[in-house]
Symmetry: C2
Subunit: 259 residues, 2 copies
């Protein structure tokens, strides 16, 4: 590859000796072996604080803490906490984000949810206007020009997370991350790497997963992103609802992609 | 009402002077005025630690930390951390759970997600068998006989979270909590109290929301729960996939309720 990617790899797992720890190490190694640059936010290893509070945004505790406003103010005043700013600088340097986690109770581990809650604050990640004065969001924003890939392990078998499986369809479960956060920010969101049945993985299964991961990483620059509909592309009305002629009859997350 | 409820009210908001703080206080007050008993887990006020780690389950750091196994082992050995056990005792004492939070990035604040991640561990909340030896989960489990009510504030207007709104349908966004956690545990899950557009709430809007909340709380014992399908009720095959004749053509979260 010409140039090479600048990857930020965000990992949320408490155990380096786990499948997730193994895959993260393998992925990093494979990327570096091909000349890419990789920064890592290993949230457990960093002791990341996932809890939004006033102190991170230099907010005067005598005043009511309005989360979004306080963060925006701190952002413009340059008083956001150093741990948050460090993550934002990593994001800004990257052209590719990898978000890796085990699915716990059908979502991200708290330490990762709180990475988004704290780092993706108003003024940095939302409440932004583009050069034309239009609000950005969903297809354009602070992640414009970047690619994003989720890598998700699930203990149960694939069927539990299928279109009619009891846990709910995995596309729906990941919609908040993939559409609501990554695509919202303007990233091109690639189809996720999904690893099912990991509770019963053998060493051979883990090796197979590592191989799949390496192939997906190698293919990042050429992979077609999920065709989520950009907000300003004509599919939504001015109240951010899909126009009747777009995906007629479809509701929920499925309606927000064009294929 | 005869008897009175034993309510556990779980709140996740950093600011007591917020709309969420106001509603929590109003709800508590109203319940107590009617003779109900209310315990509160105000996660911010408690300084709740939302991060799953080995120490909470008395796990030997020399050994690989397998989260679910370590928790189950600690549960049976009586070595689960005191903060987790205290929450479990509150849950066990309650007949009604209220889960109140602002929707942040289309899900729970990290401090609340980590309440579930840590407290709802294997051995206590899943991996259980009923008296007949059958695995429990989805319609029966450690929350059997309890009712659950989510109270959720959303900054944006209702249309954004509608069936074809850009943020995704709120039913889908809450499915992991309502179906995957509360109904999974065996609770009767009531339709949530949803408050939209709260970024622009006036004092009159807040008073109106408090009134709605009081009415919903008063109606808890008589409210029809969401008709999620019990796993052992015949709608699922033995791989936990909906049988073809059940909700034909429906996929995702919508398929898992009978009305």
């Amino acid at each position: 590859m010409i140039g090479g990617m600048n990857v930020l790899w965000i990992l949320a797992h408490p155990e380096p000796r786990s499948l997730n720890g193994f895959l993260a190490a393998e992925g990093r190694r494979a990327l570096r072996a091909e000349g890419h640059h990789v920064e890592v936010s290993d949230l457990y290893a960093m002791g990341w604080n996932p809890v939004v509070d006033a102190s991170a945004y230099a907010h005067d505790p005598a005043e009511r803490f309005r989360v979004a406003d306080a963060a925006k103010h701190a952002h413009h005043a340059g008083t956001v906490a150093a741990d948050i700013r460090a993550e934002q600088e990593k994001i800004d340097r990257a052209d590719t984000l990898v978000v890796q986690f085990p699915l716990w109770w059908f979502g991200m581990p708290a330490i990762l949810k709180g990475w988004f809650d704290r780092v993706w604050h108003q003024g940095y990640a939302y409440g932004l206007r583009g050069p034309d004065g239009e609000w950005s969001g969903y297809g354009d924003g602070f992640l414009a020009g970047k690619r994003a890939l989720a890598v998700v392990t699930m203990g149960g078998p694939a069927g539990f997370y299928g279109e009619r499986g009891i846990h709910g369809a995995v596309d729906e479960l990941l919609f908040p991350l993939q559409h609501g956060m990554l695509f919202y920010g303007g990233a091109k969101v690639l189809p996720p790497v999904l690893l099912w049945g990991t509770d019963r993985f053998t060493p051979e299964d883990a090796a197979g997963a590592a191989k799949e991961l390496r192939e997906r990483l190698r293919a990042v620059p050429a992979t077609e992103p999920i065709p989520y509909r950009p907000r300003n592309g004509g599919d939504y009305d001015d109240r951010f609802v899909l126009r009747p002629e777009v995906a007629p009859g479809l509701t929920g997350s499925r309606a927000h992609r064009s294929a």
